[in-house]
Structure formats: structure tokens, C-alpha cells
């Protein structure tokens, strides 16, 4: 049976490290603060916001929500975002997306200063991830995956890593981060022929394709390490979530696997705090 790579252990260790860091900063009279910008009140956003608030509170990071009505117009919203961007007390900014169709999202995203862009929403942030510039923060989810791999001492140098999915929130930045650690990286997607074979060839498989339980035993091989990034509505259990991996089908084959729920997801919000703390350190020294 595959060993489960539990996010909880990773989060706990990270939280401990981060709490100490925040205490040190507070000793110097500095409190890291995350600003969350939300338009409307989508249940998904509210759920995520609740999780962030709790994580921030536990670590000692200040947290403020800037909430705007769904019918906010472009000009006043731009002004509002600029105000948050210029607020010296706020070190990291997260903007819930997608924004309502009446707003020009790319323009608004790029109002976030790159140094406060803790989830890689700006194009400048993406450029820094591409160029391996440590001044840029990669998106939280792929960073959480890297943190999991590091925590469980999974070597990457010289290994075959396969990233399934090419989204800008996970797949593409994930490929860049794995390359930084000297893995050989293959990025594949739903248009790939022989997809199961490409995935099975990996030492480390990162599934981020957004299709419930698509990765079954045809996609994996013995001893493989599987990171399941998917959070999909479970078609068989309404109201529940499942990953991109059919865990029951593969757990007799692979070596280690991150479960859903209980894997990468919970680590992501801790990374958001980590990025905010790092941003705070850079902005205040």
C-alpha cells in the first residue's frame, strides 16, 4: 500500500517555523499583513477566505478583507485596488478571481505591485517565475507541492518529473519550479497521445488536470510518487471533493501519494502566509 503524503504534517511544520518568524518580526514592531480583495460573495471565495483567515490567525499574520459589490465599476474598483496596493501596512495581496465579466481583470491584476503579489497574479510575477528570479512569488499551489516534496525528503535532482496539466495556477509554474531543482521535466496535457504511458514513465507525477479520478492505474508505475493537485466536485458523492487521481485504483501500485482531501490543499493557505511574511521581510528591511 502506498504511503500517504499528508498535508497536515507539512502544514504543522511550516506553521511552527512561520509563527517563530512572525514573533521575531513583531519583536521589531512589524506585523505582516495580507489584504484580500473580494468582489461579490461567491460561496467558493467565502470558503477559501475563511480558511485563509484561520491560517493567518494561527500564525499571527494580520488579515483584512476589502469587499466590493458585484456591480462595482472599473474606475472605482481600479482606484480601490490602487489604494490597497499603496497601503504600506499591507505586504501581500490576494485578489479572488475570476472577477465579474464587467471588469477588465488583466488590467486590475497588474495593479498589484509585484513585490506584494503573493499568488503570482501579475504578469511581472509570472515573468519572474519563468526567469527563476527569487524576487517573484510563484503561485501558492505549486509552491505547496514543492514544499510537500521537500518535507518528505523526495529527491528531485536528476529525476523524471511529469506534470499533467498546463494551467497558469499549477502546471506551467510547477514545471519551472521542478526545473529549478534540476529535475527533468515533461509537461503533458489532455491533447497528449499515449498520455497514460507518458505519465507512467515518471519518477514523480504531478496531476493537475482538473478531471475527477482521471489518473487510474494505467497512468502510474510501481514505486512512483504521485502528487494529486486536483480538487474536483466528486461526481459519485454530491457535495464532496475528489482529486485527479483514482486513489483506490493506484494505491496498490505507487510508492507514495498525496490524498485529496488532506494533501496539497491545506498546505496552500500556509504558503500564502509564508509568501506574505517573506514579502513583509523584504519590504521592511
Amino acid at each position: 500500500m502506498a504511503e500517504k503524503l499528508k498535508g497536515k504534517e507539512v502544514s504543522a511544520s511550516l506553521r511552527e517555523e512561520l509563527t517563530k518568524k512572525v514573533e521575531e518580526l513583531k519583536g521589531k514592531g512589524i506585523t505582516p499583513k495580507l489584504g484580500v480583495i473580494r468582489v461579490g460573495a461567491r460561496p467558493d471565495d467565502l470558503y477559501y477566505e475563511g480558511g485563509i483567515k484561520k491560517t493567518c490567525g494561527g500564525i499571527g499574520v494580520d488579515f483584512e478583507v476589502f469587499e466590493y459589490p458585484e456591480d462595482v465599476d472599473q474606475d472605482s474598483f481600479e482606484k480601490a485596488v490602487k489604494d490597497v496596493a499603496n497601503n504600506k501596512d499591507i505586504h501581500g495581496i490576494l485578489l479572488f478571481s475570476p472577477l465579474p465579466g464587467s471588469l477588465d481583470e488583466p488590467i486590475i491584476r497588474d495593479l498589484i505591485p509585484v513585490e506584494k503579489d503573493v499568488d503570482c497574479l501579475t504578469v511581472g510575477g509570472a515573468g519572474k517565475v519563468f526567469a527563476d528570479d527569487p524576487e517573484g512569488f510563484p503561485p501558492c499551489t505549486p509552491t505547496a507541492c514543492m514544499e510537500m516534496l521537500k518535507f518528505f525528503n523526495i529527491p528531485l535532482e536528476g529525476k523524471k518529473a511529469v506534470v499533467l496539466g498546463r494551467s497558469m495556477v499549477v502546471g506551467k509554474p510547477m514545471a519551472m519550479l521542478l526545473l529549478r531543482e534540476n529535475a527533468t521535466v515533461t509537461i503533458c496535457h489532455s491533447r497528449t497521445k499515449d498520455l497514460p504511458q507518458v505519465c507512467a514513465d515518471a519518477d514523480i507525477l504531478v496531476a493537475a488536470v482538473g478531471r475527477p479520478r482521471m489518473v487510474d492505474k494505467n497512468y502510474v508505475s510501481a514505486g512512483q510518487i504521485v502528487i494529486d493537485v486536483g480538487i474536483n466536485e466528486d461526481p459519485d458523492n454530491p457535495g464532496k471533493f475528489c482529486g485527479d487521481v483514482n486513489t483506490a485504483d493506484v494505491e496498490g501500485v505507487v510508492g507514495q501519494i498525496s490524498p485529496v482531501p488532506g494533501g496539497v490543499g491545506g498546505v496552500t493557505t500556509v504558503i500564502l502566509c509564508k509568501h506574505t511574511i517573506l514579502a513583509c521581510e523584504k519590504q521592511t528591511t
Binding site: V123, G127, A131, E157, K172, A175, V185, I187, V198
Partner: protein, 294 residues
Amino acid sequence: MTAKVISGKEVAAEIRADLKKKVDELKGKGVHPGLGVILVGDDPASVSYVTSKSQGCEELGIYDELIRVSADTSEEEVLNMVDKMNNDNKFSGILVQLPLPDHIDEEKVVNAIAPEKDVDGFHPVNQGLLLRGEECPLPCTAYGVQKMLMVSGNDPAGKHVVICGRSNIVGKPLAAMLMQKAEGANAVVTVVHTRAQDMSYFTKQADILVAAVGVPEAIKADMVKDGAVVIDVGVNRVEDSSKKKGFRLVGDVEYDAISQKASYITPVPGGVGPMTVTMLLYNTVECAERIAGV
């Protein structure tokens, strides 16, 4: 199998012929592409690059202006020149020839170029757009490789492309381009590098193999699958006393042996090399179109 040779000279000539027409058309609409080049110092290789760029502009009817200053020019002066060009409508493209002298911060200068005029595609904003798969000036060598594949009938869609080398100038941009959901892309892309335990494990899987490692003839015939398309980005000097200059140019692949195995191959010289300047001209024209919104 004897590989067909993809001549960069021929592909570049075709692209230039199309570009010339495009430039004429744009001028008819009142849009005049222009390239501003800043050359600091007199490094012979840089002078030669800059000259071929100017010649290309002249050939295609693109306005071009070269500012050539001595190697002791200050960073501030260079930044001022860039700033002027950013604000001058004559220029749809700006190029600061690299490398710059040590006292000038290259990154600072590259970042000072207006992203919409950054014809090298090295500005962080353009690198971000590239990774996202949005429209932007694409790094010239990588763009040239993609064009060569398309013109030779080797659309990467659905193919396994293996890229040897992960530089910010060739390997990574090409990977980012070919993995997108877009025309001329949609490939499965593997990026492999010198830290891999066994590079040949990956190169043998390639339908399309791109060598950009900067090591003379590092890719041997036994590392290549029968019928693969082999694109050689390397340009290396190796000593050769039989040549007048004392050296000859070789690529990153063992050309003679691989041309017996591959279906297509690019030569060195005369392969990817001539594409790079052509794609710079292409970017200058594309930037003019984007800026003018036509």
C-alpha cells in the same frame, strides 16, 4: 534514411519576402515599423550582429537607427537613451545589444525597455506573457525554431518535443511556447539538461529533438530515434588548422551520423542561426502592428 535539410537561409528568405510585403502594406496604412539599436563598446561579434540587423532593416524597408557609444558610457546615459526611444514613435522595436560592459547592470537596462517594444522578448513582463501563453514579442531564437518546424511541415502538435538545455534565451522560452494550447504548439514538452542521469533516455523518445546545450556535438547518433526531426541551436567554435581562421563552426549534434537517421535536420552554420536576426525583424514588425492596433 537520409534527412532532409531544413535550411535556415531559405526559410529566413521566405519569411523576409513575406515581411517585406507586410511592411509595404503597413506603410500604406500609415504604420512605419522602426528599430532602434543601442551598441555600447566595440566588441567585434556585437558589431557584426548589429550590422546584419541594420542590413535586414534596410532590405525590408524598416526604419533603423543605431546609437553607437564608447565602452565607458555610464549606465545612466544608456538608460536615458532607452527612455528616449521608448517615447519616440519612430521606434516600434528597441534592442540593446548584449553583453554590456561590466559597469552597466544589464537587467536594469533590459527592464527599462518598454515591454511593447522589447523585440528580444527578455523583459520580465514579456517572459510572464510568454509563460501564460499570451501575445508578446517572443525570444528570437526560440521563435525561429518554431517557424522552421512549421515551414518544414513538422507541426509540433501532439508530438513529443525534447529540448536539451534550459537557458532563459532558448530552452525555457521554446518549452513555454510549445506547451501552450495554441497553433504551432500543443506538444508534449520535455526539458532535459546536464543534470539528468541519462540524457539519452529522453532524447531517444523525441519526435522533435532540439539541441541547445552549447557543447560541440554533444548529441550522438545513438541518442536519436529513427525518423526524428533534429533542430540544432548550438554554434560552437572548434579548432581546425585547415581553416583560414583556425576554427570551424559545429553545432550541438553530430551532424553527419545523425543525418543518416533523422527525417529532418538543420545544419550549422546555415540553420537556426540565420533565423534569429530574421525573427528580430519579424518582432519589430509585429510590435509595430500591436502598438498601432492594426
